[in-house]
């Protein structure tokens, strides 16, 4: 039996998600709508009659039926039955914040006009009462023509009546009669035009005639509801989905109606909005009894401190520092644990399987590949936990309020700040955090520059290069490190500015940011959301990352030369013959060195090694040799692989703990002409390269997922790598000219 579908909708910050969690017992499933990165939250009503299952769908928060973001577009399209894999709602539950009645009713009445069976839940009546708004629910129900249930979703008040209502609707089959209602007193000319369009819509789309009146109103008053020649087809936010092709005669009818209204001096864009608000003001006056509110609300008192000229920025910096530090350091412990566990697993599998290619593929390809995905999980979880808490308390919009001025200098939005900051830890959670940015251009610009912020994976690279190349005195090491971080920030801001001026230009987005009242976070829901989002990362990005890791393993392992194998087998046999039993420590040392030499020789002979040599001409102008080339090739998987690759290339052994001994070996490394390979200038050039180069398969995979196309990750990889090459080239050439 087809489950009864209940759609939850409402403004952002109206408590809709809290209600959804309460109704589904925190057991909702999170996925994505096909083709867009909008979270699709779905769950079953707990306590429903088993014979009449109920599916709940939590739509993204929406201010109106004229969408401004992909989130809002999905919500509108579902309500208009335009999303192929979402059934027509059997019941729409509009959640309304009682303390913010007029603006919430703006959307609620738009939804009621759609003609679906609709119920209104008046949430946060406690907050409204504290603020002096006493709402007569019966009067409101009469005025709106739909049932109204008062509620405090966070305390569970009003949930039972709602459940009961849904259950009774689900168990009584048959069509429900809905009284058509409109909440506009439109000027006569406008109403006449809307009526004519409605009739035309009913004729063209008889299967959704229920929606015709509301659709006609939108077509007439929202210019972006009507597809035009200029409609961008590239992941647009306001275009129409395929099954809404309007016949050209209809489009012409709408356009000429607008022209007629304009000629008559009627503003077709704002008339309906003003008429609705006028009506809502009257309804509010009628149903609300106002008592004088308390002198100052707690939320306003908090805001006086949090957005204070002095305390505001101070609190902000503290919160960000805390968040950044814990993503950086707190995540280190579980990450070390995961690394150790993955190593142990690889070792165990490696020793319990017969040696050979399959063994190698499983341990160094598959297990190491899975490890490289899972290793990000602690950072991602922590970041999502913080973001969830900041969003849930209401601080997130204050952070955007505080930072907007700085970010707007480079053409970005205050909301881009958190993703950029998070990218210091890791670009992956940073890029996933861009979902809070509504404007597509701003979101893309943020995604494109986020990996330029120096992430934690660059730290081992910087560390080993600084140890090997930079003079260890007068604070040079620390200063160099700081310079690299600053260079990344400057690069990110500069590129954002360039992208916003060129590629992602568009009408300058307005900042229309609601500052909702503060509230206590619902920890259970925040944790649940953290896990849902992290799981999505594991599932989608994980598969791509794993695949590419296996490819890179292949490149670093094949082709195998039997001559080389024979040579080393022979030397191993010789060692065995000569060694005493048990071997002395000197003899063990010889064996270790032999193993390292074998690994190094094999890597040099592999495809990766050959690639390193092949790209040498491109690296020569940067002062790099083919050995560094191998490191750059293999570290395309992840930057820190550079360190382990160099260890193999220089026969130090692949352990990451060997940074110090690796640096020693690098210091004594000479070029063919006898000069040192790792001069301060080479080190600096290489670091500049790593500041800007993409060098992270996981980021590519996540950008692919978040932008839903290969176009942007490819563009990003190309621009970052070019930028890295050019800046490294300049560094090296200028440095050489200056005599370093």
């Amino acid at each position: 039996m087809k489950p009864f579908t209940v759609v939850l909708t409402g403004n952002p910050n109206c408590g809709k998600t809290t209600l959804f969690n309460a109704l589904t017992g925190l057991r909702g499933r999170v996925g994505n709508y096909a083709g867009v990165t909008v979270e699709r939250k779905e769950g079953s009503l707990t306590g429903a009659d088993a014979r009449f299952p109920v599916t709940l769908l939590d739509l993204p928060g929406t201010y109106s039926l004229s969408p401004q973001s992909p989130d809002e577009q999905i919500a509108r399209d579902i309500l208009f039955q335009r999303v192929a894999d979402v059934p027509a709602p059997d019941l729409v539950v509009v959640v309304v914040d009682a303390s913010n009645l007029q603006r919430n009713l703006y959307f609620a009445t738009q939804v009621i006009e759609l003609g679906h069976p609709t119920l209104l839940t008046l949430n946060m009546v406690d907050v409204a009462r504290d603020r002096g708004h006493d709402i007569d629910t019966d009067a409101l129900s009469k005025a709106l023509g739909v049932p109204v249930i008062p509620m405090v979703a966070s305390q569970g008040e009003g949930l039972e009546p709602l459940r009961h209502f849904i259950r009774s609707q689900a168990s009584s089959p048959g069509t429900r009669h809905v009284i058509p209602r409109e909440f506009n007193e439109l000027p006569e000319a406008f109403g006449r035009e809307a009526q004519a369009i409605e009739t035309a819509l009913e004729r063209h789309f008889p299967h959704r005639s229920r929606l015709a009146a509301a659709e006609a109103l939108l077509l007439l008053s929202d210019e972006r509801a009507l597809p035009t020649d200029k409609t961008n087809t590239d992941g647009n936010t306001n275009g129409n989905t395929a099954n809404t092709r309007y016949p050209s005669a209809l489009i012409e009818q709408v356009l000429s109606a607008r022209r007629r209204l304009e000629a008559a001096g009627v503003d077709w864009r704002s008339t309906a909005i003003e008429a609705r608000y006028a009506r809502l003001f009257a309804i509010e006056q009628h149903v609300t009894r106002e008592t004088p509110p308390p002198d100052e609300l707690l939320s306003d008192r908090i805001d006086r401190v949090v957005t204070h000229r002095v305390w505001g920025p101070l609190i902000f910096v503290t919160v960000m520092a805390l968040m950044f530090q814990s993503i950086f350091w707190l995540a280190k412990y579980p990450m070390d644990g995961i690394e150790a566990a993955v190593d142990a697993l690889a070792q165990w599998v490696g020793s319990s399987m017969p040696p050979g290619d399959l063994n190698d593929l499983i341990t160094r390809g598959a297990i190491a590949g899975v490890g490289s995905v899972v290793i990000f999980l602690p950072q991602i979880c922590l970041l999502f936990l913080f973001i969830g808490l900041l969003e849930d308390t209401g601080y997130m919009s204050r952070a955007a309020f505080l930072m907007d001025r700085l970010m707007s200098r480079v053409g970005l939005h205050g909301k881009s700040f958190i993703p950029m900051l998070s990218s210091f830890a890791c670009a992956i959670p940073g890029i996933m955090a861009t979902r809070t940015i509504e404007t597509r251009q701003d979101r893309l610009a943020t995604i494109l520059v986020a990996p330029l912020m120096s992430c934690s994976a660059r730290l081992p690279v910087y560390t080993v290069l600084i140890a090997a190349c930079i003079p260890q005195r007068n604070g040079w090491p620390g200063l160099t490190l700081l310079m690299m971080y600053l260079l990344g920030i400057a690069g990110a801001l500069g590129m954002a500015w360039i992208f916003k001026k060129t590629l992602l230009r568009g009408e300058p987005p307005m900042l229309i940011l609601e500052l909702p009242p503060y509230k206590r976070p619902m920890l259970g829901a925040v944790l649940r959301q953290m896990w849902d989002r992290s799981k999505l990362f594991l599932k989608r990005a994980g598969t791509v990352i794993l695949g590419i890791n296996i490819l890179l393993w292949f490149l670093a392992t094949y082709p195998r030369s039997s001559e080389l194998q024979q040579e080393f087998d022979q030397r191993h046999a010789q060692w065995k013959q000569a060694a005493s039993n048990p071997p002395t420590s000197a003899e063990s040392e010889t064996l270790k060195r032999l193993d390292q030499e074998e690994a190094g020789e094999k890597l040099r002979q592999s495809f990766a090694g050959r690639l390193g040599r092949a790209i040498e001409p491109a690296l020569k102008p940067l002062g790099f040799d083919w050995k560094i080339g191998i490191g750059i090739v293999t570290s395309f998987a992840a930057r820190e692989v550079f360190v382990s690759t160099l260890s193999v290339v220089y026969n130090v052994g692949g352990d990451s703990e060997n940074t110090a001994s690796l640096a020693e070996v690098m210091k004594s490394e000479r070029r063919d002409d006898g000069r040192k390979t790792y001069t301060p200038l080479t080190g600096l050039t290489l670091m500049v390269f790593y500041v800007f180069a993409m060098q992270c398969v996981s980021t590519v995979a996540v950008v692919r997922r978040e932008t839903n196309s290969w176009k942007w990750p490819l563009f990003q990889t190309v621009y970052m790598t070019s930028l890295a090459w050019i800046l490294a080239f300049l560094t090296y050439q200028v440095g050489t000219r200056l005599g370093f």
């Binding site: 004229s66 703006y106 864009r269 608000y277 001025r405 009408e507 900042l511 609601e514 500052l515």
Partner: protein
């Protein structure tokens, strides 16, 4: 008439006219900022921009660039 951004924190006024091009101001109107709406300027952000206003019992933040174009009386 004077721009909304010229109010001092705590000062109230009524929106008279919105001089933002019609094709860009749709969302602003939908948020309830219409001619005739009473507004209160709550504060400016620490860096002077954006500005926080209160209307219809809720708080909204706009850039000064837009607030300059909203005339109040």
């Amino acid at each position: 008439m004077r721009p909304l951004s010229s109010l001092t924190p705590g000062e109230r006024a009524v929106v008279a006219r919105i001089d933002i091009p019609p094709e860009q101001r749709g969302r602003l109107l939908e948020m309830g900022l219409l001619p005739g709406t009473p507004v209160e300027l709550v504060r400016f952000a620490p860096l002077g921009d954006p500005v926080e206003i209160k209307l219809r019992n809720y708080h909204l933040s706009l850039r000064k660039l837009e607030a300059d174009k909203i005339q109040v009386h």
